[in-house]
Every structure is written in structure tokens, then in C-alpha cells.
Symmetry: C3
Subunit: 313 residues, 3 copies
């Protein structure tokens, strides 16, 4: 199959084949990352702009490195020093960046739908690097890539997502990707953060941690998103930890080969203890490494790249 | 003619021929921007430092991209993280950057004359990216470039600059450039922001909007510069808009081919309504695109470039 | 001799031969900085991350340019926008950067020992760009490089370090480097900032300025480190200046060829007056230029470079 999209806005609108093409392309780029010189000329002379309206180091740096390794020129647009203070609209800011002949604009924004909006008003390609509590598609792609690399398949796997589902764009993107590729998805956490309405997406919802993790092949923890919670959704962090925090005792009931994932940054001692985060079953740092390959693949494909065969050549 | 200057500090001291040489060179670089690979090796191995002591994204990004496209290495010097907090003088900071073998220092500063001061104490080339309410020469050059591209000439054109003239470095640079190239310049706005003293520069001053725009070939709007006004110079934004804001009704009396310009960022609904800002006569985004070409030309010439013939070759 | 270290963490653990190898390599890189195209391909395709947890422009920019001139890809990790706000540990942040396949992590941190800690938990190379009041090894190396260039030797020279020794990582690194290479080191300043305990390192300690500078070949001034002093260590800045500030009258008693050094940024009128800072004996700006060459040498060697013969080739 061939890639025909100009933007990467969400996982919801991708087909299973499109997801697979990104993953195959990412696999070829991961091999590039193991060479002595980790660069390819695919985006030479192209301009990529990181428009991060919400603070982020991890994701911004990953996209920046991905673009650099494709030989693109990358500009970081810092909101601190930006025209937003002067009252300019997002649309005007983005159209100005485009007028500087940006080829690809990577946007993170606190408003759900901001990347979709930009994709309708710009000629440049748009990549969603996280929009409000809506989607974070490259995070889901790197999660799927990591699972596939470790387990060899997605279809039929039991994947539990644990924590603050309601406010999590990572959860929404993961759910879409996992279901499209045939996994069984269980969501778990306090009722205020994991409402039953998620069953309508095709997930199982439980508020019982043991029930959620006992048979899981993958346990994907989410960070407690203080910054996106407008009011307290649970009594205290320590109560959350006592009910849903992962630790050695709790992991004792899980399958021995169940993997632990986390999009980072980790709150050690809150959603997971250090022993588990650093243990053999944790693939948290591999997720970071795979994120770079996945983001190279996304930038490559939306820039007109054909697929993995082109990279090997 | 040949370029003989090491710095670009203002428009006031340039000859009409020097302005034309920059514009001709910018035209060649605009063509480079339309190639698949938008880079030329002219400044390879040279170090360009963006020393922005006042916040700016738009202009800093434009200079950064201009330098990157010339293959220079660019360092952004952020004032937030700077030694200014530790009490270092501007001169010491700039001499330290020069000691790191900076070839070109691009400076924006809230103090009028800061670039001229640096040009006297440094061996590196200095480019003024806006100094207080004094000058913003590359903005004027991109304005002139845009007018010339659209109208084919500058001499004899009627150009109206509208808004906060008193506090505007853009207005001062535009006035110098327009008058040197033979345009007729009208300034308009509230008496507190457009004092009669500007007539001494050779401009017409009026406080009547209809009078200012009726015969204009070009209407160049300025942003209301809240940040540079120490006391209120007009009763309220809404009063400003009711008297001087551009909208469809007011534009009805203008020439059908009059162009609308604005240095950005736009305050939509204040100095201009959205319909007019986004209408056919608006060249606001083309100004941004042309700014990149003009800044490439300036960096190229002060680095010893000869002229447009060199770029085509 | 050959370089065998993966990290540059301090001067204390280096041998005199290792220091000399860095200096010889830096000399070759200084020659590169005088070419028209100041770049070499030594680190092409390598990723260098500037992890500056304490604000710094001078040192960060110097390392950034050093890496760029070696053709590395450089990412600046800003603490403002960082995950530290979200409660991530330094170890997790650094391991995440490493998972993005950083080859070299340059760290500045307010906690003494932070680079050593990272070197134990990371596979990447670590360079100490200043840790608390502990060490700032590349500053000492550039100081030694500058002295050697001017005086032709270190052994037997009388070097006076003047000012806030107690809180100065520069002083500690300088002392180690100078003593290892055979200089005689005198420390001078108010008793609260220059305690007698430094005699145990092998230095002479005096609180009498004339005694400290009369026979010195080198007078190395330190900045008064307001930000690292938790309580007032002397009555006032003006009292400090009256007792220990350098000026023309005081320099009259020194050797005519004694050099003045300062790591910057200078507090003009506090530790030194402007006439002396800008005078013929001042090598302050040469220190900055040499810092770039020394940092190129450090990055080159820890990346596996053999020595100066490789650069000339």
C-alpha cells in the first residue's frame, strides 16, 4: 500500500494498513539509528517547525532529533517568546510560519482539535504532537511499535491501560491503535478517571486493579495529569498509590512475561515504584528510543516518502 | 554598484542605489526559495548569532531561517537565560560572543542606538533587527520589496502609513526608504501618535482617515504598540478602532488596486477587521515570505557577497 | 600518550599528561578556527545534548559552537520548559535523553557531583560544564591553555587567584590544574571567602592583596558569586571593592608582564575597574576564544579522537 496523507492528525482516522506502513517504515529508520552516522538526506533543504504551545521537552526533542536525522532544518518556536503574548491568533501565527516556507509544522496545543484546524487553513503539512485531552498519535505509534517488537504481534494481545484515562490523549490514541490492530483493551483506574462511557469505544472498563492486570500481556501506565485536572478527581496522591500504584507485590499476580510501559515522565512512587520501573519487564526507555524512529517515519511519509524499501536502498 | 558596508544599522544612512542592490539580491534569493532544496552554500562555516534582548519570534525566526538557508551556523542567544541577569553590560556580552568568533551579530534591543554602539566596539558585522523606537531596517526593505513586486515601481506612488507612528521603528525605517526611492508618504492616526513634527522628514501628516486613504496606492497599517507606550496616548482601543480601524466600509472609498500591508502581528478587530486582513488586496503574508529573501540578501552582502549575479551562477 | 576516558568530570582525577594532551589537541583546533571554513567532520552524525539545569549563556553557547564546528547535531535542553516541573528525577531525564541516542551529554547543575552521578547511570559520555561549587573543568583547561600560550610554560609560574574562592568551582578546577602542572598558587580574598583550609590542597593563602599580587605572573580574578552565597560573607560590595578590587593604582605594584584573567561575566567596578579589564595585560576575551578550542578538544577526545596529529591530517 502507498501513503497518501499530507498530515498526521490522529489515529482515529488511520486504517490498520496505514498504521502498519508507518511501523514498517519506522523499523527501517531504527536500523539507521544504529549506524555510526545516523543521518539520511530524505528531508534535506526542507524546513520543519516545532510549534509547541504547551511546554514539553521530551516530545519536542524527539521530533527535533527526528527531523535533524532526516537532514531537515528545524526551528523551535518557543511560546515564551512568542507573539501570543501580543494577542495574535493561532491561525495567524501558523500562517506566518508557513509564509516563511515551512514545509511541516509540528504542533502541540492545549486545545483539542488545534492541529485539525491548522490542517484546514495551511498548505504546509501538520503533525499532531498532542492536542488537549484528544490525541497524541505518535505516542500511540511508538507504543504499538514497542509491543510489536517485543511480542511479534498485536492481534489477540490483552493490553491494560492504567491510570488517568479521562484526561489522557495518550490513552485515546492508544485505544484507537490497539483496537484497529485487534488487541483487547482493558481500562482501569478510579471511577472518576475511568468512566464507563469508554466501553462504547470497545474497551473493557474495570476499577479493580487485580482484575485488570492478572491476565494482561501489556500493562501501560499513564501519568497522573495534575495539569489537566481542573478539580480533584481522587482524594490524594497517596490514596491513588495505595489503590492503583504498581509495585513488586502487585506485579506478583501478573503473567511473568507481561510488559510494563509508561509514556513518561514517571512519577516514581506514585503510579509505579522504582523497582518495577527499572525492572526487567519495563520497556519504558525502549519506548523513548522507538519514538525517534516512529517520528522519522511520520515526517518521511508525509513529506512524500514511499516506504521502507526506499530507506534501505 | 558594489556593496561596501560591513553592517546594516539603519535605512537613514543608505543611498537609493544601496537599497536597490539589496532588493535585486533579494529577488535572486526569492527564486532560491522556490527550488526543491532551498539552500545555498554562501555562508558555510560562518557563525551568525541572534542576540535578541527584546522578545520576538517572528523576526528572530526569519533571520534564523535566512542564515540557515545560506548554510551558516546560527546560535540563538536567549535573554531569559543570559548573563544580563548577572549584571554584565551589553558591550561585554557582545564582545564575548565575538570572541567565540561570531561573524555576524543580529541584534534586537529596546534601546535606540544599541546596534550602532555595537558596530563601533566589535570587529564582527552587526545587523539591526529593531532598536527601540528608532529603526527596523529589514522590515522597511521587505515592505519596499513587496511594493515593488506588486506595483513595479516606488517613485511617484502614494503610500499611507497608518497608526502608531510615534513609537514605531517600522514607520521610521519605512519613511526613510520610501522617500529615498521617490514615493509620497502620508502619515495618519490620532494627533498624540502622529505629531506634526514628522512633516520635517518630508511626509504629509493628517489626522483624517478618509483623507489619508482615498488616493493611496499603498496603505501600510502599524500595530498599536502597547508595550512601548508609557502612558495612554488615546482613550481606549475601541475608540481607536472606531476612528482609525480599517474595515470594508472604509476601504470602499479607496482605489480598487490599493494594497494593504501590515508588519504583523495583527490585532484583528483593532487596527483592521478580519475580512480586510484576509482579503484579496492584503499582501501581509507575502511580506513575511519576502522578509526571508531580504534577510538572506542582507546577510549575504555584509558577508562580502557581490550581488545578484553571484547567486544565479 | 593516548586518551582513554569516556567522560570529562573533573580536573582532580586527570594526570598532568592527560591535561597536556587536551591542550595539544586544543591548539590544533584553534588553528581550525582561523580557517575560512571553521568546521571539521569529526563528530558528524553524533548527537550532543546540552543539559543545562542552571542558567548559562556563555558556557552553553561555547559548548554548542564547539559541537557544531565538529559537525555534531546539538540539542539544547532548556530547564524552563522541562519535565523537572513535572517532578521527573535528573536520572530519568538523562536516561531519556540517552534513549534518544545522545552520544554526549554536557551537564551544568547546581548540585556538586551531578555529572559523576550521571556518568555511573548512563552509557553516553558525560562532560561536566560546572557542578555546584565543585568543579568546572573546561574553564580550568581554557585558563591553562591561555597561560601557556602567553607564557610558554606553567611550571614555576606564580599564579594568584583572587576573590570568592570558597564558592567557586572555577577556583577548585584551576587549583587542581595549576598544581598538577607545577605552578605555585596563591589564594587571596576576605577570610570568609578564602579560608585557611585551602592550604591543605597545596596553596598559599593570604588576605593581603598587595602580598598576593606583588610577585604574581598571573592574576586570576573570580566573580563575586551572589547566587551561590546563602548569607552575606562580607559587609558590602563597596567594602569588597575597596579592599580587593583591582584598579590602576593597585596594579602599579605588580610585575609589568603579569597577566589579568577573569572567567566572566565581569562585574565592572566591583572586582576590577574598566581600565584594567580592557587594558593591555587583560587576556579575558582571549580566554573566551580559547574556551571554544578547548571544548572542541574535549568533545573530540571523549568521542574517541586520538590526538592533535589527527586534526592536522
Amino acid at each position: 500500500m502507498a501513503w497518501n496523507r499530507k498530515h498526521l492528525l490522529d489515529i482515529e482516522s488511520l486504517s490498520a494498513d496505514e498504521i502498519r506502513l508507518i511501523l514498517d517504515t519506522a523499523r527501517a529508520f531504527k536500523a539507521v539509528g544504529e549506524r555510526a552516522i545516523k543521518k539520511v538526506p530524505a528531508l534535506r533543504g526542507k524546513t520543519v517547525i516545532n510549534l509547541f504551545v504547551e511546554p514539553s521537552t521530551r516530545t519536542r526533542t524527539s521530533f527535533e532529533l527526528a527531523a535533524i536525522r532526516l537532514s531537515a532544518d528545524v526551528i523551535n518556536f518557543s511560546t515564551e517568546a512568542s507573539s501570543f503574548k501580543k494577542g495574535e491568533t493561532l491561525k495567524d501565527t501558523a500562517r506566518n510560519l508557513e509564509a516563511l516556507s515551512a514545509d511541516i509544522i509540528i504542533i502541540r496545543h492545549s486545545a483539542a482539535g488545534a492541529p485539525h484546524f491548522l490542517s484546514r487553513v495551511l498548505l504546509a503539512s501538520v503533525v499532531n504532537a498532542g492536542d488537549g485531552a484528544h490525541e497524541h498519535p505518535t505516542q500511540a505509534l511508538l507504543d504499538i511499535f514497542t509491543i510489536l517488537e517485543k511480542k511479534g504481534r498485536i492481534a489477540g494481545l490483552k493490553v491494560t491501560i492504567l491510570g488517568d484515562i479521562l484526561y489522557s490523549r495518550v490513552a485515546r490514541s492508544d485505544i484507537w491503535a490497539l483496537l484497529k490492530l485487534g488487541a483487547q483493551v482493558t481500562l482501569c483506574g478510579p471511577p472518576t478517571l475511568v468512566p464507563k462511557t469508554f466501553e462504547q469505544m470497545g474497551c473493557r472498563v474495570t476499577h479493580d486493579l487485580d482484575d485488570a492486570i492478572r491476565d494482561a500481556d501489556i500493562i501501560n501506565l499513564l501519568r497522573i495529569q495534575h495539569e489537566r485536572q481542573r478539580k480533584a478527581m481522587f482524594p490524594s496522591l497517596s490514596e491513588y498509590t495505595s489503590l492503583y500504584g504498581l509495585n513488586r507485590a502487585r506485579l506478583a499476580i501478573t503473567k511473568p512475561d507481561a510488559l510494563l510501559m509508561h509514556p513518561g515522565p514517571i512519577n516514581r512512587g506514585v503510579e509505579i515504584d522504582s523497582e518495577s520501573a527499572d525492572g526487567e519487564r519495563s520497556v519504558i526507555l525502549e519506548q523513548v528510543t522507538n519514538g525517534l524512529a516512529v517520528r522519522m517515519a511520520v515526517l518521511f511519509l508525509i513529506n512524500g516518502g514511499v516506504g521502507p524499501q526506499e530507506i534501505a536502498a
